[in-house]
Symmetry: C2
């Protein structure tokens, strides 16, 4: 593999890819992109290190924002949160952090670790914990692999730092959710810290390169041709083209829950798709039938800009293209589905993986 760096041009492509993989969640990538661009301009580009090249004992620090996306899109970060997380983790572990990793490759959470890595002069690992965005902290490949989320470090970047030593990863999620709420609704967090040897077994490999490849393919196309470009790279399908007929969202226990209805237009006239969301788009239903379901990735693209929309940006009357792309194979295992399948979100539905294949061997 050729060495990859994240600099201004590649960051723009990376952000497009993260937006698709975010499935409407992970935070609005626009703000993350601006902060990451400024950081690489000031501190230089960020090296992307492959899992195979990580030292066996290198300490990997998964990180990102934790909390309500409705708040995250209105909050500006000073950039120093990554250092606070790093310092706290090093104090707890008694060793130096060797690399950062986005705990989720979706949305803003793909980009903020790059900003922090630029400022710290550290590389970013070509991997993540989700292969997309998910709402909860135990929905991580590291959790499936038996790594402890604790000690979890949270900071508001303004002098408050919280360290959680949880009884298990479900408690870590619960305590982190509450900690984020008390730190202003959203905070920076580091969790599931592990060695390079563990990261090789316990993460989803190639996430950064996948987002980059996806974003580059999108960038090479006119806006109208972005859905086919995404479909080709990820093995996705278009579910419907239409306009937003209704959006219902409510803040609920640190999450945003709700649904959106898309009315088909053009060739899709007469069809109606309902999307259920919990921070991310999780379920697409048509005439009572599941068209796509988590862990597959549901993406809503604005027809006018070709840009993926986060759940908070969905508005009545918007023209959109709804796509579904295969989620990582890991999550379609029985163990994976128990953590991130529709039932894990309280949806009692029959579901199946979308019937496609990506060009990189992903299901």
């Amino acid at each position: 593999l050729a060495a990859v760096v994240l600099d201004a041009p590649s960051l723009r492509a990376f952000a497009r890819g993260c937006a698709v993989l975010g499935a409407g969640g992970g935070g609005d990538p626009d703000l993350g992109l601006i902060m990451a661009l400024r950081a690489v301009q000031e501190y230089g580009p960020v090296e992307v290190v492959e899992l195979a090249d990580l030292g066996t004992d290198a300490l990997v620090m998964p990180c990102g924002l934790i909390g309500a996306p409705t708040v995250a899109i209105e909050r500006i970060w000073n950039g120093d949160e990554g250092r606070m997380l790093r310092d706290a983790v090093e104090g707890l572990r008694g060793e130096s952090v060797g690399a950062l990793m986005p705990y989720e490759i979706g949305g803003s959470n793909g980009l903020l670790p790059v900003m922090w890595a630029a400022r710290l002069g550290l590389p970013v690992v070509d991997a993540d914990g989700m292969g997309r965005a998910f709402p909860e902290m135990q929905q991580q490949a590291m959790h499936l692999a038996g790594i402890a989320a604790s000690p979890v470090v949270l900071t508001d970047g303004r002098g408050n730092t919280v360290v959680l030593h949880a009884a298990d990863n479900a408690w870590a999620e619960r305590l982190a959710r509450s900690g984020a709420a008390s730190l202003g609704g959203v905070c920076a967090g580091a969790l599931y810290c592990m060695t390079g040897a563990q990261a090789r077994e316990a993460t989803i490999a190639g996430s950064v390169r996948r987002a980059l490849r996806l974003g580059a393919a999108m960038g090479a196309q006119r806006r109208a041709d972005r859905p086919p470009a995404i479909a080709q790279v990820l093995g996705g399908i278009v579910l419907v083209e239409g306009k937003v007929l209704d959006v219902e969202r409510r803040a609920d226990g640190g999450f945003v829950r709700g649904s959106a209805t898309i009315e088909g237009t053009g060739d899709d006239a007469g069809r109606e798709l309902r999307i259920e969301l919990q921070n991310e788009f999780l379920l697409a239903l048509e005439d009572g039938t599941v068209r796509a379901a988590v862990p597959d990735i549901i993406t809503v693209l604005a027809s006018d800009t070709g840009a993926p929309l986060v759940t908070e940006r969905l508005r009545y009357g918007q023209r959109v293209t709804v796509m579904a792309s295969p989620g990582p194979n890991l999550w379609w295992s029985p163990e994976g589905l128990s953590v991130v399948g529709p039932a894990a979100f309280g949806y009692d539905v029959e579901y199946a993986a979308i019937p496609t294949g990506a060009d990189d061997g992903t299901r």
Copy 2:
């Protein structure tokens, strides 16, 4: 001063004193007494160490329960919480804890540190942070003295421990309140850890002995004569004798807020006293006039048992004696009133200290 130990007989007196000083808060002392009695039976009595006898560098760990009293009265502790707090504090400070201290001398929070001290074989300092009970964590003599509450350690005693490094003591309160809520509504906590030299300047001295003396004086009297015994030791006054006409309580942001109305009986027939409460009894009003106000200590005694009632135990129709006793002088300073005066609780009232004097030189 003769050496004082807390053993089975003295713990019973101590619990009575803590109940009065709790001003209706600090948690129901009955449960704390049972746990402390069992601990001294199993591990031996607890030595009470005077501030003057503390080593200059001895690490003092103030501790107790944090959270909603409505939950606290229904939760049983396994007794190992003190060790978890101690271990976490020692890990953070890199030195051994030399003594525990009740952060508040009121209610159950006067007794639980004694239980933990018995199990750890450590002494308890003859001091506390409040001289009574208050609802918030920054309402501590240590806060007035400029000691940092952080790092605050919280544990549920069931495998979850949270460490808070707060920007200031107001943030420490906010984060601790939220942490307690996420740990089941109430948790064990250690905060404002300090050296012996600091404790001599930054705490309210003699609190354990005061509670013991008060409880002994009460125990020597028949139930009907307990109010005069309390009045004599603390310099308090009886506000009214009557029955509970109305109680209104609601859980609100980790606190219990509400009010109670007492209708005078006997010599007090025709009078009506309203008590405002926020975890503790804070204000006593009659005909629009303040009869007693925080930081003075309002205590409601059940007429049938002579026992002080915590706010959660107040019930319609109960026969009660309402007393007010002088709060520590420290809190009647301008700085003290800014932290614990009626205005700090949102009461816009004219107030004055009750016009009495205690037998130990307290105002």
